[in-house]
Point group: C2
Chain length 204, copies 2
Amino acid sequence: MNALEFFQRSAGTWRSQRTTHHLAFRRAEKGGSEIIVNPLDANDPKVIEICQMHEIEPTTAIGGAYVKWDGTMAWDKEDDENHSGETVFALVPDDETGRKGKLLRERGYAEIMPVIGRYEIDNEEALVLITEYPSMSSYERFWFPTPNVRMRASTVKRFGGFSTATFCTEELINAEDVAEVNVDNQPSANQSPKQPAIASVFGW
Amino acid sequence: MNALEFFQRSAGTWRSQRTTHHLAFRRAEKGGSEIIVNPLDANDPKVIEICQMHEIEPTTAIGGAYVKWDGTMAWDKEDDENHSGETVFALVPDDETGRKGKLLRERGYAEIMPVIGRYEIDNEEALVLITEYPSMSSYERFWFPTPNVRMRASTVKRFGGFSTATFCTEELINAEDVAEVNVDNQPSANQSPKQPAIASVFGW
């Protein structure tokens, strides 16, 4: 299985239950969201555009995905913040297996987001996304215990120490849903720039 | 790394944050516990005793562990139930690598518990425990994002469907702690027989 096949298995609308364990505060934060995943072919205009932004030859990409999410986090209830957002990315493998390589993000999504991460399908057929920041790193692992349940575990380490672990259990509620791709290169008004760096590379 | 080495890395006292995601109820349940892990050598009397209970030659075991836990779950606050317990198990590998094999439990721990499970160190150096029940199966995976943080993700499938996912983030608070092994073959008074089958093979 390559990374594009993994996202093809992720196609559809998912109901996500999320919990973040904060070691320093010894507390858990829970949330939920609805996530729509559209895998994109290598010849999709959005995939080609992202490659061009990064000055990478578009024919080296195997495809990508458009992801849209709408959710809430318990700690944000006071300020009524809405964790909605959308993103598009492209997969550029290191070799013909497609199992590991670069994950390119659109530019301008949020200032704190790096635009290039690493992806890998590990030996257990889970998808791992690794993103290095100047003062922290994010490790996110996705796997399917059953075809209609996807799980995610991600850890964020800051300055060499461990800070948070986030877990999601995601149930497929409609495999046929397709969201219309409608992404510009600026953060949308209701998108929180702080959340993606903390909970997930993607924000969802 | 074999399974005994994994438990040796787990030695000490851990503060555990736990969350269980219930798909059917669309809700999360959280809890916490303190866990003490003592790895046991192959020649430990308790390891030998468990092998003999299962009529397995004790010299085929590579060791085991004694685990003691003391915790709370949010849903139990009303009846003031105390999720404390202790268990001892032995590891009997399939081959000389020690990376997969049988996990033997003491008998009499709780009626609903099977006494033999399977363990495996997967290709990502995580420990996987698989336990098959008549109407459900449990899959539990442990890994270390850093030496002093251990994470666990477990899933329980019932009648072929998916029911719950449990996640734990565990921080090592004292690597030198050693608990005295004091286990008889009967459930202790404050040990809940229903919890181990739901949240974890071990109950902790």
